[in-house]
């Protein structure tokens, strides 16, 4: 028990504190603070914000105890636009280094680097710039390039959304691949089984069939989660396997197979069920319009509708959602069904718009690409559509990069992966570009909830 401390230690300028008149300090405090009441409220507000900051730190530590889905959602939606852009820059720089190192001329120049370092840089610059120029012109450099970009983007937008919608409800839909297959199989089956129907009936019928097949394939893990708590990651991965193998089997049966051939290729989709092209010589078709329209619908559903409010609340805090009278189980089931429907439509668009017949492996990892697209879109609907378009451009640009400069198409995948790594590790980007965390947080807070 120390009584009053020596004067030089007394807080706030030497007033003897250990007395009952301590209360009078309170009355003096505003005078010391400055002057007007306006400053006071400012101070109060400021103190609240400081407290907010402290809590943000606290939540950082709580995050470690949070479930995988929670942390994942935070990781996806928690980074700012600035970080995303910088992640691109970083990814292309690292990608450039990879291109340079894999190039023969640069490797040669590197052999006598100490003698003439400039040679290495010149060679590297040449190959990297040529590759990137080819990448850009190959995706946006003309009518046919843009057409190819949109063709590649169509299913990517849809599978991206198929991951993004469940993600907002706190679910990780790995099952895009199986849902794409289910949608493509049924759309194709309808597409070649009813020749002679008019286009206005046949095409919507086939599309809807694909959509519903995907929806059913997404509903299964959803309802399993709702009723039994089965983890959607496990069930969707298993359903992917079932989808791949079942489709391979079905393609070998006479239900799908061309009777006079033995290889697992289905009969061709009838003209009346094919997604019409805008111009005969370009492959771009009505599919992109459908994808974008679905994008608008999903944007309304997730960001603007009452259902979306429930979806987001369940995804962010199922306890509070339940307490408020929401039904997380039903929401989860619906989110998975909607996700499945979108992936199913992606499968239908590939079969009815581009390939015209079902082959084994026609899904080509589209369901998994959707995870990457949704990640880059940070789980937001607009962002996911944009990311789908971008990855479509990278895909078609990558093909012409390979054709023109000999740089492997795989490099595009490397760049895509790098972008995601940098986006998922915002701390890394901040460290590289020395962006202060505070600027990023302010940007996030300022974003508001209507956006």
């Amino acid at each position: 028990m120390s009584g009053s401390p020596p004067p030089d230690e007394a807080p706030q300028g030497g007033t003897d504190p250990a007395t009952p008149d301590a209360a009078t300090h309170a009355d003096q405090a505003p005078e010391r603070d400055g002057s007007s009441t306006a400053t006071l409220t400012e101070d109060e507000r400021a103190a609240e914000i400081a407290a907010a900051d402290e809590r943000a730190r606290d939540q950082g530590t709580i995050g470690l105890e949070a479930g995988f889905a929670e942390r994942f959602v935070a990781a996806v939606t928690g980074t700012s636009v600035l970080v995303t852009l910088l992640a691109f820059v970083a990814a292309f720089v690292v990608g450039g280094i990879v291109i340079a190192l894999s190039d023969g001329a640069t490797q040669q120049a590197l052999g006598y680097f100490t003698a003439r370092p400039s040679d290495t840089f010149v060679a590297a610059w040449e190959v990297v710039s040529a590759a990137y120029v080819a990448l850009i012109t190959g995706s946006l450099g003309g009518r046919s390039q843009i057409s190819e970009t949109l063709v590649s983007a169509t299913p990517l937008i849809l599978t991206g959304l198929a991951v993004a919608v469940p993600l907002r409800a706190g679910l990780f839909n790995i099952g895009g691949e199986g849902q794409v297959i289910a949608g493509g199989m049924v759309a194709g089956l309808i597409g070649f089984s009813f020749p002679g129907l008019p286009l206005v009936i046949h095409l919507p019928f086939a599309l809807l069939g694909g959509l519903l097949a995907g929806a059913l394939y997404g509903w299964v893990p959803g309802v399993l989660k709702q009723r039994t708590g089965a983890h959607e990651v496990i069930t969707t991965i298993m359903l992917n396997n079932i989808g791949v193998l079942t489709s391979a089997y079905l393609l070998s049966t006479l239900l799908f197979r061309v009777p006079e051939r033995t290889d697992p290729i289905s009969r061709p989709v009838a003209e009346s069920a094919t997604l019409p092209r805008f111009v005969p010589e370009l492959r771009v078709n009505v599919g992109i319009v459908i994808a974008l329209l679905l994008g608008v619908l999903i944007f309304w559903l997730v960001e603007r509708s009452a259902q979306g409010f429930e979806l987001n609340a369940v995804g962010l805090n199922p306890h509070a959602a339940t307490t408020s009278g929401m039904d997380p189980g039903r929401t989860v089931m619906r989110a998975m069904t909607v996700g499945g429907a979108l992936a199913g439509t992606a499968g239908a668009s590939v079969i009815l718009g581009v390939q015209g017949r079902i082959t084994t492996g026609f899904s080509a990892g589209l369901g998994f690409d959707g995870i990457t697209v949704a990640l880059l879109g940070r789980g937001r609907i607009g962002g996911t559509v944009a990311a789908g378009l971008l990855f479509g451009a990278l895909k078609s640009g990558g093909r012409s990069m390979q054709a023109q400069t000999g740089t492997s198409l795989d490099l595009v995948l490397v760049i895509q992966a790098l972008i995601i790594i940098f986006v998922a590790a915002p701390g890394l980007v901040r460290a590289i570009f020395r962006v202060r965390a505070e600027e990023l947080t302010t940007a996030q807070v300022a974003k508001g909830w209507g956006s």
């Binding site: 028990m1 120390s2 009584g3 009053s4 401390p5 230690e9 807080p11 706030q12 504190p17 250990a18 007395t19 009952p20 301590a22 209360a23 300090h25 309170a26 405090a29 505003p30 101070d43 109060e44 507000r45 400021a46 103190a47 609240e48 914000i49 400081a50 407290a51 907010a52 900051d53 402290e54 809590r55 943000a56 939540q59 309304w300 603007r304 509708s305 009452a306 259902q307 979306g308 409010f309 429930e310 987001n312 609340a313 962010l316 805090n317 306890h319 509070a320 959602a321 339940t322 307490t323 408020s324 009278g325 929401m326 039904d327 947080t441 302010t442 807070v445 508001g448 909830w449 209507g450």
Partner: protein
């Protein structure tokens, strides 16, 4: 060890959390740190514990400046901290938790369990914090877990112990035990920094109290010579009322009727045992009790979150069983959940979104399935104004508000509409004095509107301040209700399981 903070300043973007704070912790003293949520107490202690770096100022130990870059430095310097949320591994034993990180190992890195257990047992004995070193932490009650946290700091030879809101999770009896242990600790010349916003506790344990307000030390006082009222005024910066101004109510017909309610937990154990009571419109019934005596399942059954094993619950004459939660809530039940962060708010949602959480798909917030953002925004601005919610804007995420303001968001949402029944659990937990005053006034206001109010609280002072009638829950059974006034001591001993008649008689004697 004499610990001195000199001119500590910590800035966060746009704000100063600690503004030239001077603080001296003398050897052998319990130094209370008092302040509202957001006053900068935790920031200051996090700086002392090496979790934050101060922008300005220095820390001196026995007159020597030290640099505390991370908790390891602080621990090496003899500073220990017990956080509000415990940092224990539930599946480890007490001894394993305590030696974790500084453990002795035998050959091939094998943990020397026997030695750990022996050392911890001796330490517990010596420090007056008895605990079984071989018990699993997950099996221990919260009060004992806290002991483990304190022993963890002692095992690392802490000379100064920082306790952040240590009594928030304790029963009155456990708090007394803690105070005893603190006295024993400081008796050996070591010191304790005791953070709390409960005024009575500072008067009970602290030798000196420093009051923080808006990042500054606004006064240091001897709590034994300063009244609670003076401390409260100092903390809030204006005169506050510690007593609720409550005219007698005018109870009418019952709006909550509970008849022989029995609730079982998932394992099939009876957690609410044949409980019956009424809450009439225009009265406040407070249910006191140490947490974990069945209050939470009672509330959950009342609002349809947990199935009823037997008995019945009627709200405004309608049985709760068989209706969906949405129907029960929209039928006129307001609820303040005990854990607002978990059940009351979606932290990432904005204030505006949280203010429509229970009515998101009702007109006028939703029309033709579409959210009406302008209506939602206007609604939020109106409630922020009416309920004095301090927030930079209605678009601010709720999680970044202070505890008191988060609670005001919940209160505003639930109190805004006319309701038949209000079920409020721990309505002022973790809320600062100024907001407590405000929330209490609103509860009384709601009662006077003709709402049947049920308060569940483990804070005796709150029960006494608000109740028209009081009941106590103990081991799933309800004792009472009794008409107020009932002596504080009588309620206290009923909370500990004393027979009500005996408790009333004893309470009356005092």
């Amino acid at each position: 060890m004499r610990l001195e903070l000199r001119g500590i300043t910590k800035r966060f973007p746009g704000v100063i959390a600690n503004d030239a704070v001077d603080l001296v912790i003398e050897p052998g003293e319990v130094h209370g740190l008092l302040g509202e949520n957001g006053a900068g107490k935790s920031t200051l202690m996090n700086i002392l514990y090496g979790l934050y770096a101060a922008d300005e100022g220095e820390i001196l130990i026995d007159g020597q400046p030290v640099e505390l870059r991370e908790p390891d430095d602080a621990i090496a310097a003899g500073i220990g901290m017990v956080h509000q949320h415990f940092m224990l591994v539930p599946v480890f034993t007490v001894a394993e938790n305590i030696v974790l990180g500084v453990e002795h190992t035998r050959r091939f890195g094998k943990l020397d369990r026997r030695r750990a257990s022996r050392e911890v047992g001796e330490l517990a004995e010596r420090s007056g914090l008895p605990v079984d070193p071989d018990a699993l932490v997950e099996d221990l009650p919260v009060g004992i877990q806290q002991r483990v946290e304190i022993l963890k700091a002692l095992y690392r030879n802490a000379q100064t112990l920082i306790l952040d809101e240590p009594t928030a999770v304790l029963t009155p009896q456990e708090a007394d035990d803690l105070f005893e242990a603190i006295r024993a600790f400081t008796g050996e010349g070591r010191s304790v920094v005791f953070i709390s916003h409960k005024l009575g506790e500072h008067r009970a344990i602290a030798d000196r109290v420093s009051v923080l307000r808006r990042g500054r030390i606004v006064g240091t006082a001897d709590p034994r010579e300063t009244s609670e009222q003076e401390l409260a005024n100092l903390m809030v910066g204006r005169p506050v009322s510690l007593v609720v101004d409550k005219p007698p109510g005018s109870p009418a017909d019952p709006a909550i009727e509970v008849r022989g309610l029995t609730v079982e937990n998932a394992a099939g154990t009876v957690v609410v045992d044949e409980v019956s009571f009424d809450v009439r419109r225009g009265e406040i019934l407070a249910i006191a009790g140490v947490e974990g005596n069945g209050q939470s399942p009672l509330v959950r059954a009342l609002t349809g979150l947990q199935p009823i094993a037997s008995g019945e619950v009627l709200i405004a004459g309608e049985p709760v069983a068989g209706r969906s939660r949405k129907q029960i809530l929209r039928g006129g039940v307001g609820q303040v959940p005990e854990d607002r962060g978990r059940d009351g708010l979606v932290g990432e949602f904005s204030v505006a979104q949280n203010l429509i959480l229970g009515r998101w798909d009702d007109e006028p917030f939703t029309k033709r399935q579409t959210l009406q953002f302008d209506v939602i925004g206007a609604h939020a601005r109106q409630l922020v104004e009416a309920y004095d919610i301090r927030t930079p804007s209605v678009d601010t995420p709720a999680a970044s508000l202070s505890g008191g303001n988060q609670q005001k968001v919940v209160v505003a949402r639930e109190f805004d509409l006319p309701i038949d029944a209000l079920v409020a659990s721990q309505p002022t937990r973790g809320v600062d004095v100024g907001s407590i005053e405000y929330i209490h006034e609103r509860i009384v206001e709601k009662r006077d509107e003709g709402t049947a109010v049920l308060i569940i609280s483990s804070e005796l002072d709150e029960v006494l301040a608000l109740a028209d009638r009081v009941a106590v829950m103990f081991h799933g059974r309800l004792v009472g209700p009794f008409e107020m006034p009932v002596a504080k001591e009588a309620i206290g001993s009923m909370m500990a399981g004393t027979d009500p008649e005996l408790a009333m008689a004893r309470g009356g004697e005092r």
